[in-house]
Subunit: 206 residues, 4 copies
Amino acid sequence: MDSLARLTEIFTHFPGIGPRQAKRFTYYLLTRDSRTLSELARLIEKLKNLTHECLSCHRFFATEKGGKERCSICSDTARSEETLMVVEKDVDFENIERTKLYSGRYFILGGSIPVLDKEPEKRVRASALKKRVKDDIEKGALKEIILALAATAEGDHTERYLRELLNALIEPAQIKLSHLGRGLSTGTELEYSDAETIRNALKNRG
Amino acid sequence: MDSLARLTEIFTHFPGIGPRQAKRFTYYLLTRDSRTLSELARLIEKLKNLTHECLSCHRFFATEKGGKERCSICSDTARSEETLMVVEKDVDFENIERTKLYSGRYFILGGSIPVLDKEPEKRVRASALKKRVKDDIEKGALKEIILALAATAEGDHTERYLRELLNALIEPAQIKLSHLGRGLSTGTELEYSDAETIRNALKNRG
Amino acid sequence: MDSLARLTEIFTHFPGIGPRQAKRFTYYLLTRDSRTLSELARLIEKLKNLTHECLSCHRFFATEKGGKERCSICSDTARSEETLMVVEKDVDFENIERTKLYSGRYFILGGSIPVLDKEPEKRVRASALKKRVKDDIEKGALKEIILALAATAEGDHTERYLRELLNALIEPAQIKLSHLGRGLSTGTELEYSDAETIRNALKNRG
Amino acid sequence: MDSLARLTEIFTHFPGIGPRQAKRFTYYLLTRDSRTLSELARLIEKLKNLTHECLSCHRFFATEKGGKERCSICSDTARSEETLMVVEKDVDFENIERTKLYSGRYFILGGSIPVLDKEPEKRVRASALKKRVKDDIEKGALKEIILALAATAEGDHTERYLRELLNALIEPAQIKLSHLGRGLSTGTELEYSDAETIRNALKNRG
């Protein structure tokens, strides 16, 4: 395989990209100037050096000046340590942070667990989460863990796994384990709602 | 305009139908046999005679054998009179009923109120709702009115209108006025959720 | 089944209409006034009386004042009898007529023939087409039959069937049997074109 | 802007990529191993060294072993020099080549000319095309130039520009200047065809 074909093949592994768009990426790059290509290549080459996986919440963050082990959220003493929100992915974290509605701490699970998966501990940062919760309990500030997972079968399965994983830790410490409220999301019309959503909307009415 | 063009024009007023599909409807009917056309014509001609708007909940129901003033739900003494669910449209009622999750009574509002609408009382069955609530309060069984409206700006505006409309009636009688719970609806992923949905999901977590 | 359910069921057989939209049609009609319903019912009931299948081209046309056996196109002596365009459906005829690019005559086939169909003569007006062509040949004006069928496998199969059907008639009379040109249709980009379209576009270049 | 944000920004300039998917690309790369990142970075960095713009047809091709000035098609003496097909983009060339229906030569225009564009010579390889055609005429084999452009307003405008550009060269040499045939492309149904397509399909019938 020649270098153009190889580059195109790598692009086909990018999320949501098929062979045709991968090819368009390659031709797009061919028309860029050398400076742009060099910058892109350098950013990709140094990606691991320029970023760090936060020791506390495990999200990736840029560390231009080096040295930091904890991300800006985890280092921010103004944020409450009473709540720990567990999200699946870095982009979930970013979306929630953008709303400015939550001022507690986070933990990035790194994935979710398919319903019939045999090795769930390989899908998510299970032992890292246990360690984080144990540490937080020892520090004494933690009061609630919020499971902010997708409202899907896979999200529900992941929640069951995490409840079992954390139960022995949080029960003695009387930490609340909550999940995000279910009901009508913005834009929902009753005519098109499924039974599960109506059930939750009725149960959580207020 | 000839009869084919007129028939096509009437079909263009059907919900969600453009000129092209309206024309296809007309040609479709042209290929049906006379018996099918006669049956369809009779059902449409007699629609008002064969159906009745329920005096209690205002939904339309078939009254083949004549005589009934109240629909099967409103006549069903097994259904609780403690809760009255207000929905916008007949299809909303049908969808909720299909879930078999609700065993109280209904009121069909007949529409919703656009945000800047000048004559809201013409958009919905406002006086009929007031009368229904007054009667229910006098009968003494009603405990809660559930506003089951769309989770949209128009639904929210309709809710504000109804709260004002009913306030003087329900406050002295200590009737609860609730709305459907907001949060993640089935299938929602955090990455794509809007701030309003996240706000509700956080508020209603449990 | 009650009358509302029956009406909804009939609507589900309309082209492109599913159960949900069929229900919305029924509720839409319930909110119309009696005059509108009566007019619609009358138009449907009288559809067969108010329309006529043209004896020459077999398209349906409105015959309010009664009496006519041939449609406006077939009765129009200004239109050339040298070309006969065979189309699948009434809407195909309408679309071509709207372009004002063709001033010959038409024949509405009434359908197309699926590739493995066992009884093609039941799918299209085969004997009526043969009779029409025979009559046109006897009258002496016909020079070309244009098969204006879909550029699909089913259209191609229908063309093969019609060529065989008409061959014995048109060969002795030296009638040309043509089909619509293939190539790039408006809006086509080369990047997304299939091999068949490129083959035709190359062959028909000029 | 930190390095992650900068990498994401570069991805937003990729064809068809919005801010959300650009972010997903960045997070996707963060989870790749160093070897994959290094290979991707190297391919991008060396893209200009590893590829060459063919001196004859101006398409980009991989030149691992170095040295070549002409691509495999332009160097292939088995391909006819009688026809020169002018296409807009490298992907158009690839799509046509995949059909194996054309055995002549190519010229990649590098773009198309918007209808009201003031500087068309900057949009396409105008002077390179003139030079190529002049050389081909001098060599004596060229008989036909096929303009294989999109069947859009922009494609038509580009064709007019190229005809004017090449006219003085090809007229004395009696080179034919053709364009791809227009008509029904594969899958087209008459009901949905625009007037332009029907006009071409009628004109090119056969």
